[in-house]
């Protein structure tokens, strides 16, 4: 082999504490090194050109660049050697900046270490082989999981881009949490008015197939070629016949059915359409409360339905869809705040969640938009808002900030004044997080124009005073005093958690999730929409707390990623994947058992069972390689021999 070594000075970044010329000189004595030099800036245009020239001039068939982290410039230099006609995998990097010059003070030790790292890279390179990517077809359809505002945005953008979309929603209607909101900050415009048209677009778009009351059951396949099984729950209403006229809901006698859409602030009927703007606007029977289904007698809805859509015998159904990409937009749920026994643990009717308060504010809510407190239906005069209930609280294992509570609390305080001009509002807060556009101004309006009293401190206890009001015991840390308020209504800004079932879905998607069930993006800053499973993208709060504008932006971003992926007819698979040596394989299945991606299958080879890597599924972790005792499955570009070469370069006594 003829290897060229380029020891970068990176200005004084490396050259300051490493004798680069000496490293290059030492490198000339390493086996197979035909050329070594120490350029000032290797990644700059002239530096890259110099590599290309050297490859031609010295007939190099491999290049080592000793400079910054490969996480920074490996792709850059791979392209450089490729331009000069080498295979991109005949290139190695030695990280002598982040791992040497920036962390060590002793120039002699640094120089020595840099030379060793170059030697390590040279030894690795001597065991490298040219690798080539293979190509496969893409099924240009996308699955969007979750019909909240993020999912709706992703679905609409993809559909507008010409891509058929399958949208799966667990609830009876799309719209998610945003559909439950009365108004939105910082403009205080009506949530239903801005979300409604988008929901209708979803319903009417020819490219979008919507499954409501449905959940993803199983996912198999890989980027470009996923197969998804979707479980459609029994709604007991044939939606192809249901016109959404609502005749059934008027006549249904089971009027004590819990109203999940209204966050249990009221009750509804067993057959029900979630809210007037529901999409799809179809009735659904709640089997637990339906008299026909529980007791076998009633049948009122079937009698009154003008189209004969009621079908009490309906069974759930599994449908299969083939897609090339998946957007997860499963949103969030409120945490179960009843762990706060000091706030009553849910037994005081006038201590409610912020989402319940939205329903009380909303004209389509159970009180028709009049703020009436649950216990006695009276208008509250003193309303206390408590922030960070279940956020930033390590004692209950929720150290994170839920992100948008500060803003909606300000909004709710403003709306309270709009509804009850004489009301006094208090907000207990720890820090106000209002970094968005026009956000801080909005919060200040709440206190300056709407007279909301902001009190910096947490609330220790909330309890009834025995005279119909609630005692709120808090602190004003700015005053350095204990404070106490008698409130008519207390609204808790309850923290968010990943939506129920998120972890289960993550396992199906084979994507990572954090300790709290939020899905992990590929890179916190630079790949915030991608996951580590190719072809799976994230949108909205399922990835972490965010407000509506950010959710919508991420929905669009996810759609852009899907469209980018689908811009090509063929996809290339990364050649850095595992490969089976058929002779050595004894078909013991150990690799197959531990592969995190299900990328290994059994195959027949001349009558014998052998392992086979599904190239498009393999992600290149190499777990199989370190599992196989026979050494029969080798991760390309990180084979046993390549790593051994590195170990031997360092340790050889």
């Amino acid at each position: 082999m003829r290897i060229g070594v380029f020891v970068c000075h990176c200005g004084s970044n490396i050259g300051g504490t490493v004798d680069c010329a000496r490293v290059a000189a030492l490198a000339r004595d390493f086996p197979d090194v035909a050329y070594a030099t120490d350029p000032m800036y290797t990644c700059a245009e002239p530096g890259q050109a110099a590599i290309e020239e050297a490859i031609h001039e010295y007939r190099l068939d491999g290049v080592v660049v000793a400079s910054c982290s490969p996480r920074m410039h490996e792709p850059t230099f791979r392209r450089t050697v490729e331009r000069a006609g080498l295979n991109r995998y005949m290139f190695e990097m030695a990280n002598i900046r982040e791992h040497v010059s920036w962390i060590g003070k002793d120039k002699e030790a640094n120089t020595n270490k840099a030379a060793e790292l170059v030697r390590l890279a040279v030894e690795k390179l001597r065991h490298n082989l040219p690798l080539a990517a293979s190509q496969f077809d893409v099924n240009k359809r996308v699955l969007v999981i979750g019909g909240g505002v993020a999912g709706i945005q992703a679905a609409l953008d993809c559909a507008e881009g010409g891509i058929p979309v399958v949208l799966v929603e667990r609830e009876a209607t799309i719209g998610g949490k945003m559909a439950k909101l009365d108004k939105t900050f910082p403009t205080v415009d009506c949530s239903a008015c801005i979300l409604g048209p988008k929901m209708v677009d979803v319903a009417q778009h020819p490219k979008i197939t919507l499954y409501a009351c449905a959940e993803v059951e199983e996912i198999s396949g890989y980027v470009g070629n996923f197969t998804v099984k979707i479980r459609k729950r029994a709604t007991y209403v044939d939606w192809s016949k249901c016109t959404g006229c609502g005749a059934c809901t008027e006549k249904c006698p089971a009027k004590k059915t819990p109203d999940a859409f209204n966050e249990h602030t009221g009750t509804t009927t067993a057959i029900n359409i979630a809210f007037p703007q529901a999409i799809p606007k179809k009735a659904v029977i709640n089997a637990q409360y339906c008299r026909q289904l529980t007791k076998g007698k009633c049948g009122v809805c079937a009698k009154v339905c003008p189209t004969g859509a009621i079908n009490y015998a309906m069974q759930e159904e599994i449908v299969s869809e083939n897609v090339g990409a998946i957007v997860a937009a499963t949103g969030y749920d409120l945490m179960d705040w009843r762990v706060y026994q000091e706030y009553g643990g849910g037994v005081y009717p006038d201590v409610i969640t912020s989402l319940q308060y939205e329903r009380l504010l909303s004209a389509s809510g159970p009180t028709g938009g009049h703020v009436l407190r649950p216990s006695d239906g009276k208008e509250p005069q003193t309303v206390v808002f408590v922030q960070c209930v279940g956020s930033r609280d390590r004692s209950i294992g929720r150290p994170y900030c839920s992100g948008f509570c500060c803003m909606y609390t300000a909004k709710q305080a403003i709306l309270t004044k709009d509804h009850i001009p004489g009301a006094q509002t208090f907000v207990f807060y720890m820090d106000i997080r209002a970094p968005g556009k026009m956000y801080d101004e909005f919060v200040r309006r709440a206190s300056e124009e709407y007279g909301t009293e902001y009190i910096r401190g947490r609330v220790s206890q909330i309890y009834p005073d025995g005279q119909g009001r609630l005692v709120v015991k808090g602190a004003d840390t700015l005053l350095g005093e204990q404070v106490e308020i008698k409130a008519d209504l207390v609204v808790l800004a309850v923290g968010i958690e990943a939506s129920k079932g998120a972890v289960n879905l993550a396992e199906k998607l084979r994507i990572s999730y954090d300790n709290h069930g939020f899905f992990m993006e590929s890179h916190v800053k630079l790949r915030p929409v991608e996951t580590n499973t190719a072809g799976v993208f994230l949108a909205g709060v399922c990835q972490g707390a965010k407000d509506i504008p950010a959710s919508v932006a991420q929905g669009s971003a996810a759609a852009a990623k899907v469209l980018t992926l689908f811009a090509r007819d063929k996809l290339e698979s990364d050649p850095q994947i595992a490969q089976v040596d058929i002779r050595r394989c004894v078909a013991c299945g150990k690799c197959l058992r531990c592969c995190p991606f299900g990328a290994i299958k059994e195959t027949e080879f001349r009558g014998e069972t052998k392992a086979q890597v599904i190239a498009t599924v393999c992600q290149g972790c190499g777990l199989c390689t370190s599992t196989c005792p026979q050494g029969a499955i080798q991760l390309q570009h990180a084979t046993d021999n390549q790593i051994l070469a590195e170990v031997n370069a360092l340790c050889q006594c």
Partner: protein
């Protein structure tokens, strides 16, 4: 007191570290939410609120913290610890600070110490606590002769207060030895017993 807090001069990080070590609590975890203050049943009698004491410890304002009267008014009810969102055992910090103050000879509310010592004296003498004994000793120490005398008639009438101390069958000597050893050790280590 109203002087600018000169953080270059007044910060005593060793103090913060010592409080952390003795109490076993991570003081830097406190983000000043005020929950401890909010729930404190003695807060109204404090000169410095609990959360402010925590802040003082964070900043290493040793003198200000150890001189606080609040340390002596803490009821040790642990409401603060129970509700701390950062899992800090605030009551343990308060107790640690009180012990540190005592050892440094700073007793901002002497009557509290007097009461405790009176109580412990009866325990030392009789092996068990004795209400009237405690009260008499306390009145003598604090010169508060009127203390609770209004209650005594009722309590005596109801047979709630025994005039004679109740001494364990084996005598009070084993308990007295504990106190003696404790006192000796405290003297050896040069701290206030």
């Amino acid at each position: 007191m109203n002087d600018t807090v000169d953080l270059n001069r007044m910060r005593d990080t060793a103090f913060t570290a010592q409080v952390e070590a003795l109490s076993g609590q991570n003081i830097s975890a406190c983000y000043q939410c005020g929950n401890c203050t909010a729930g404190c049943p003695a807060g109204f009698a404090y000169d410095v609120q609990v959360s402010q004491i925590m802040r003082g410890v964070q900043l290493g304002l040793k003198d200000r913290v150890l001189r606080s009267r609040s340390l002596w008014m803490c009821l040790s009810c642990s409401t603060c610890s129970q509700r701390c969102p950062n899992n800090i055992d605030v009551a343990a910090v308060m107790e640690t600070l009180r012990h540190m103050a005592r050892k440094a000879g700073i007793v901002s509310v002497p009557k509290m110490e007097k009461f405790w010592l009176s109580f412990l004296n009866t325990v030392r003498l009789f092996g068990r606590s004795h209400e009237i004994g405690t009260m008499v000793l306390y009145m003598l120490r604090s010169l508060r002769l009127h203390t609770d005398v209004d209650l005594a008639p009722t309590a005596l009438a109801k047979g709630k207060l025994g005039l004679l101390p109740h001494i364990p069958p084996g005598g009070a000597e084993p308990v007295e030895r504990i106190f003696t050893r404790y006192k000796e050790r405290a003297q050896r280590e040069g701290v206030r017993p």
